[in-house]
């Protein structure tokens, strides 16, 4: 699938941070990366590369019910800031170096975060479907994104975002 497995890189981050700290830190202010610590979607849109999602979000069904962080950061306090730090660091890093593939695609790690976010708000309505009938190895528990990939930011084209078997 698309997107680099950011999870696999995690251990390296500390070391890498040392190397890239200057760059990272610079952008962190320059691009108001600190906005990662707020909840205001406009903050995300501080980076023009996030404009497409921002504009899409404004047109989406969730515009009035969920902000970026509701779907892109884990609910629990620690996880939330860990993810924000990681994303904040990486996004700043890539933004500065410009070394990221486009179109930008959600990474497996953040994808999982988002899948969990859906269930946070909708656990009640999906109880019947997420029931653990994973006798099939739990190999593919239901993916919300498979059908609802565009709830966060409206998109054209099918929600074809499940791994190709």
């Amino acid at each position: 699938m698309g997107g680099r497995a950011r999870g696999a890189l995690a251990p390296v981050v500390a070391g890498l941070a040392g190397v890239a700290a200057g760059v990272g830190a610079f952008t962190f202010f320059y691009a108001r990366g600190a906005s990662y610590l707020t909840n205001d979607p406009k903050a995300c849109a501080n980076c023009h590369v996030m404009n497409e999602q921002y504009d899409g979000w404004v047109k989406s069904s969730h515009r009035s019910v969920a902000v970026c962080n509701d779907c892109h950061t884990p609910p629990d306090f620690v996880g939330k800031y860990a993810t924000k730090a990681s994303n904040g660091f990486w996004h700043s890093f890539y933004f500065t170096t410009g070394a990221f593939p486009e179109p930008i695609r959600i990474t497996p790690r953040n994808r999982a975060v988002t899948e969990r976010a859906c269930r946070n708000c909708h656990s009640a309505v999906v109880e019947a479907m997420v029931a653990d009938r994973a006798g099939h190895g739990g190999r593919d528990a239901v993916s919300c994104l498979r059908c609802h990939g565009s709830v966060g930011h409206l998109e054209l084209g099918a929600g074809g975002s499940l791994p190709v078997g």
Binding site: A124, R133, G135, V164
Partner: protein, 430 residues
């Protein structure tokens, strides 16, 4: 399992009754799962779409056939079908298929039963067989399968009591999907082996998403009765494409019947939904039968799978719009645009085939070189199977439009080549 589940949320279903592997009656399951049961029962509805659904045609019940309503006759809609199937039971009675609720009675009362002696094998896909097979096999599914296959239909019929039921697709304890049909268990194993995957066990190896298609593949497939034991077999050991299936039949020298007008040893293709779906862009994108035919529907506070299995064109908003954000009329129009293309070419292939059959009939026993007639009969066998493969596939091509058109193109060429083979070679200019 669904009953004691720690994770996510509270189980939405109340265990009112105890369900076991031998609980056949859907009404009993319905006590625990009323929402799904309600949908299941609505498969009696008959609504027609441009090419699908079904029309409720009233009839006066007779002693031989007590049905007061049937689906429209396809033979009346297109008499050319009778020519294609001349000499075979299908030329006597062939109707548009309708909802699951009718599967058992429609099989019992089709006039095809009167013109041909049918085996117990037929029941494999028209009744709830999980309990009966195991009963007949004293606990052994396959022994029961073999035993019922060998019986005359009327005798085997006594062993069954319901159309496809909950227990045929669900494990009574966990509600997990499972495949209960010997035909598919063996068929998919052979197909996987052809891809180099040995010892495939569908209930062990399939992902949940695959199961959302495999439970349907238990029945919506091309099949034949193998050998004198009339053993139900899915012809997949070379693969699922029409060429691979035709080659399989040629190699095993199988024929369904000898064509009454042309004398060709021909084949009947039947509902290869699963095979065709496999060639399409949706299968390639991981979209399963249940995604479109049993879409999630909100009932009260819950989202459940709509067990009213039917044409997705009757519930486009649920079946398609979560993935395709086009207006409902536009989505319908897209399906029909593909279907019109396929239907148009299907008619062209039908004309070509009927012309070939007419030609062979005209020249047989007419001193026409036997070898030329034989070549023409060979072309008919393949042309007819290819055409029937698309004609019998019930989505009018939608499951794989490009593949359907490709197959029909082949069929047209084969029929015309057959006609050419019957004619003396042209005298070249000197």
């Amino acid at each position: 399992n669904i009953f004691e589940r720690k994770q996510e949320a509270r189980n939405p279903f109340y265990r009112v009754v105890e369900l076991t592997d031998d609980t056949e009656d859907p009404a009993v399951w319905g006590k625990n799962f009323p929402l799904q049961y309600d949908g299941y029962r609505r498969t009696v509805d008959q609504v027609r779409t441009r090419f699908g659904g079904s029309e409720a045609v009233p009839r006066t019940p007779t002693a031989a056939d007590p049905r007061s309503v049937v689906a429209q006759s396809r033979l009346e809609e297109d008499p050319r079908l009778g020519t294609m199937w001349a000499g075979y039971a299908f030329a006597k009675d062939f109707r548009e298929e309708r909802g699951h609720a009718y599967m058992l009675e429609d099989q019992v009362y089709t006039e095809r039963q009167q013109v041909a002696k049918q085996p117990g094998t037929c029941l494999h896909c028209h009744a709830s067989m999980w309990a009966p097979y195991r009963k007949a096999g004293e606990g052994d599914l396959f022994r029961g399968f073999d035993r019922l296959n060998a019986m005359p239909y009327a005798e085997a019929r006594k062993w069954v009591s319901h159309p496809v039921a909950c227990v045929d697709c669900h494990d009574a304890q966990t509600m997990q999907l499972r495949v209960t049909r010997p035909g598919f268990l063996e068929g998919i194993k052979a197909a996987k082996a052809a891809q180099g995957v040995a010892g495939y066990d569908v209930n062990r190896d399939a992902t949940r998403q695959e199961m959302r298609a495999f439970v349907c593949g238990q029945c919506h497939v091309e099949y034949y009765f193998k050998g004198p034991e009339k053993r139900l077999t899915y012809p997949w050991s070379r693969g699922l494409k029409v060429e691979q299936i035709a080659d399989y039949y040629d190699e095993s020298g199988f024929k369904d019947w000898v064509h009454a007008e042309s004398g060709a040893p021909v084949l009947k293709a039947q509902h290869p939904e699963f095979e065709m779906w496999n060639q399409g862009i949706h299968a390639r994108s991981g979209v399963a039968c249940a995604d479109c035919h049993m879409p999630y529907t909100r009932v009260g506070a819950l989202k459940i799978s709509d067990h009213h299995v039917r044409s997705p064109l009757l519930s486009v908003s649920h079946a398609c719009q979560s993935c395709h954000r086009w207006p409902e009329p536009e989505l319908k129009a897209r399906v029909e645009a593909s279907q019109e293309r396929v239907f148009g070419m299907r008619n062209q292939a039908m004309d070509a085939l009927v012309a070939l059959i007419g030609d062979i009939k005209a020249v047989r026993g007419n001193g026409a070189a036997a070898d030329r007639v034989e070549v023409a009969q060979g072309r008919q066998r393949r042309a007819q199977f290819f055409l029937d493969f698309v004609e019998a596939e019930n989505s009018t091509g939608f499951h794989a439009p490009q593949e359907a058109l490709r197959i029909l193109g082949q069929s047209i060429d084969l029929s015309r080549q057959g006609q050419l083979a019957l004619r003396p070679p042209l005298v070249a200019k000197k």
